[in-house]
């Protein structure tokens, strides 16, 4: 109950921050990078497209600048509900650190699973706009389940684990009907079942490489529409796991506020088939 209250308070806090940012929109505290190049907050806290972390670093902070974001996300599936609150910091467009708390409500089965994710991402080289090879980053996501009872009962080996990934993002100018196209590819080494919500490893396998990718078109400089795909491991014999995909639309009101909506198709989750639903995420950046 108190956790629910905490989550609701954080959502309200993010909404307030977003509203203040929208109303004041003080350009002096915004980073120098071009609007939209900080992407949005992925469900694991890192800057990305929603399902997958991207190579770009959060907010619009550039060299010698700092950026901070707060985000609140809700996804409503047929038999589950996911809430994520997170915050991230960008140091000189070189390092990104993030924290996220996921609350996964089993609306049909009953109960909930909570997970904390601590992320770090470093830009190796490049720039999403100017470098011919785009921007390349490596990152880690250390995940800890608050209570591992359900995942352990399903056969997961561990209640904590760490993903490592390498990611590349590139904006292709004037690539589709005069519009700019953003492409991203991520290779992730992980043992996480359903992103870690169902624990780590299992009777069918452990650590493995998975591929994730997305393509989006900037309809206007403020509005990107695209699709994302995330390959998943399948470690638990009692709970078949499928790849995730989404169709997303993200609107950047300015450098401080973005609102993302998505349609999700997450396949089977914990024995319940073909989970589909909607996704809304609000981010405030300073």
């Amino acid at each position: 109950m108190s956790r629910h209250l905490f989550s609701k308070r954080c959502l309200a806090f993010t909404a307030c921050l977003a509203l203040i940012a929208l109303l004041t929109a003080a350009p002096s505290v915004a980073g120098s990078r071009i609007l939209g190049t900080g992407a949005v907050s992925a469900i694991e806290g890192a800057a990305g497209g929603g399902l997958s972390p991207w190579a770009v670093l959060t907010s619009t902070a550039s060299e010698s600048e700092l950026g901070v974001t707060a985000s609140a996300t809700r996804a409503r599936l047929d038999d589950y509900r996911l809430s994520v609150i997170g915050t991230s910091v960008n140091i000189h467009d070189r390092m990104e650190f993030s924290i996220a708390r996921q609350t996964f409500e089993l609306t049909t089965l009953g109960g909930e699973i909570e997970q904390d994710i601590y992320g770090g991402k470093a830009r190796l080289f490049g720039d999403v706009l100017y470098h011919p090879l785009g921007i390349w980053s490596v990152g880690v996501l250390h995940k800890r389940l608050v209570d591992g009872t359900v995942p352990t009962a399903l056969g997961a080996d561990d209640t904590r684990g760490t993903d490592a990934y390498i990611s590349a993002s590139k904006l292709l100018f004037n690539a589709f009907l005069g519009r700019n196209v953003l492409v991203n590819g991520t290779l992730r080494n992980t043992s996480a079942n359903q992103g870690g919500l169902l624990g780590f490893g299992g009777d069918q396998g452990g650590r493995d490489w998975v591929a994730e990718g997305s393509v989006g078109v900037f309809i206007t400089p403020n509005w990107i529409v695209g699709t994302e795909y995330r390959q998943k491991p399948d470690n638990l014999s009692v709970a078949q796991e499928d790849d995730w995909q989404s169709l997303y639309s993200a609107y950047f009101f300015n450098k401080h506020v973005s609102l993302t909506g998505a349609w999700l198709d997450l396949g089977d989750i914990a024995g319940l088939p073909s989970q589909r639903g909607g996704y809304v995420s609000l981010q405030a950046a300073f």
Partner: protein, 150 residues
Amino acid sequence: MRLTDISARHLMLTCVLVSAWSLSGCAQRHDTSTLYARMGGQATIDAVVENLLYRIADDDEVVSYFTNTNIDLFATSFATQLCDISDGPCRYEGPPMDRAHQTMGITDAHFNRVVAYLDAAMQEEGVPLSARNDMLGRLAPLYEEIMRLQ
């Protein structure tokens, strides 16, 4: 017989080449699909450069790079470069980008700000989005040259 054969072929080839050349000439004169034309020609490019300079003048940090710059010369030179890069009837013959910006201490933050000013200037001068994207895409590779000797 053979000789006339060859000369007939020659004539044919020459005809084809000449007509292709004249067609491409016509195409160049009347083609509205060059970026230069889609930008709105030299008038718009000149307006964009002027608009950009006003924005730079308002940015205390960025304008400091121009303290020893002849602004009129810079404006003409940059307009020529934009005309050249957008396939207009100009040829940029100024210094290469790395030498033009060497040891100025330009940071990524400054570079990003100027890009944002240029895009805003193009937008304000009525350059359509697709032409703006095209122009920014053609300018983007200059980043490496400009930053090479910082």
